[in-house]
Assembly symmetry: D2
Homo-oligomer: 136 residues x 4
Amino acid sequence: MYVAETKLRVRYAETDQMGYVYYGNYATYYEIGRVEALRRLGFSYRALEEEVGVMMPVLELHVQYKAPAFYDDELRLQVIIPELPQSRMRFEYKLYNADERLLNEGYTTLAFVNKSSGRPCRVPEELKKVLLPYFK
Amino acid sequence: MYVAETKLRVRYAETDQMGYVYYGNYATYYEIGRVEALRRLGFSYRALEEEVGVMMPVLELHVQYKAPAFYDDELRLQVIIPELPQSRMRFEYKLYNADERLLNEGYTTLAFVNKSSGRPCRVPEELKKVLLPYFK
Amino acid sequence: MYVAETKLRVRYAETDQMGYVYYGNYATYYEIGRVEALRRLGFSYRALEEEVGVMMPVLELHVQYKAPAFYDDELRLQVIIPELPQSRMRFEYKLYNADERLLNEGYTTLAFVNKSSGRPCRVPEELKKVLLPYFK
Amino acid sequence: MYVAETKLRVRYAETDQMGYVYYGNYATYYEIGRVEALRRLGFSYRALEEEVGVMMPVLELHVQYKAPAFYDDELRLQVIIPELPQSRMRFEYKLYNADERLLNEGYTTLAFVNKSSGRPCRVPEELKKVLLPYFK
């Protein structure tokens, strides 16, 4: 299992007229969490797309909303990679506010797709290598 | 069961560098579908918030992505209300492109919350009344 | 001069906690207005990118905000092409609500860029041809 | 004159199919810059809305785009408050990438509006006080 954390500050643009962060914007927060989780492993998602030629479209998204986030809140996003990816990769998320209240939790499943062929492929070796130490 | 359909045109702003609609933007599409589904029943979500004083935050979101939508695609969003709401309301979604390909499907569960007290409440009578004919 | 109009409905996602449409979202409305203005000429911006291989990045954006748009408002966006484009193309915008109140006005200047070379180019003949009748 | 700087990382959600940051998203970057510029003065925009009861809607936005920002770019946003605000407040922006290339520059003018009355007001004393040392 691999766990990483990212800090996020709620932007004005992300609120809606309820005064809450709009429910669809957490998908963006989750994406930021994924990318930062990988960056801390020394792995760049950008380089995966640009250099390895593999992209990772999302196959499934699930969010359970427990409490709202508000404008200017500083949030802590915990991202968990629960298993070594093969042809798919699962990320789990827990988002907390500054009072350590769990605001929402969710998961995404992502595929690996070859950019030039547009076809699914297996986890790139570059990614597998940095994850392997956490799954022994 | 109540079923309604809405047409949507993909905006440039909604695409990402994969050339697909960004995965989080489907939550916005689903919201549009909900509101239009209710509008066709003669029910205004805006009036619910403004006049009845009830808002409907999302408790749960689930999306299964099967194929991407592209810029300028004309999409057809089918929204299903499968059961008469009590303290919660479920909406189901199926999004199709112009070739009748199912792009994604999902569901949301929403609560009813009294705007002034901030507390959960039961389905407002105004909404129940317009839905009742579909659940006999 | 060429003038076209588009109808828009404000989405919940586009509001902010002031209860207004977030000021940055009008750039998206303007983009929709541009694309629909061209579509009414029988010209597809999508085909321009995909088939002609020319894209139109924005060089300049100006917005003057006079009154806010609110959730669920039905808006009327007037788009004006004031002159025949050469190496750049100017669009002007006036956004009205259902009470015919002018909410904001603005303009954008766009360039023509060859997608494969990444270099600026002149207005594609396909676009010039459909605009010409309006500039005699 | 008061000058402050903020770092920003481009999110995947902010790119479009050109592979650039969507032109409307810079308005959000500018908003983040404004808020962080004020925070460094010890002034919270959130507290202004919540405690002082004053909000700052945007009256005017201008952006000149010189070069695109790309996914995952680390950007440096310089925000300048060129004069002591009276009934309006001007912010100027310069956005640079990691190669110190100027990507775009712009300005916004904001009003002060009393939240309960909805009417324009003068700059709140709390804000004037923290700015005054920079305008002697």
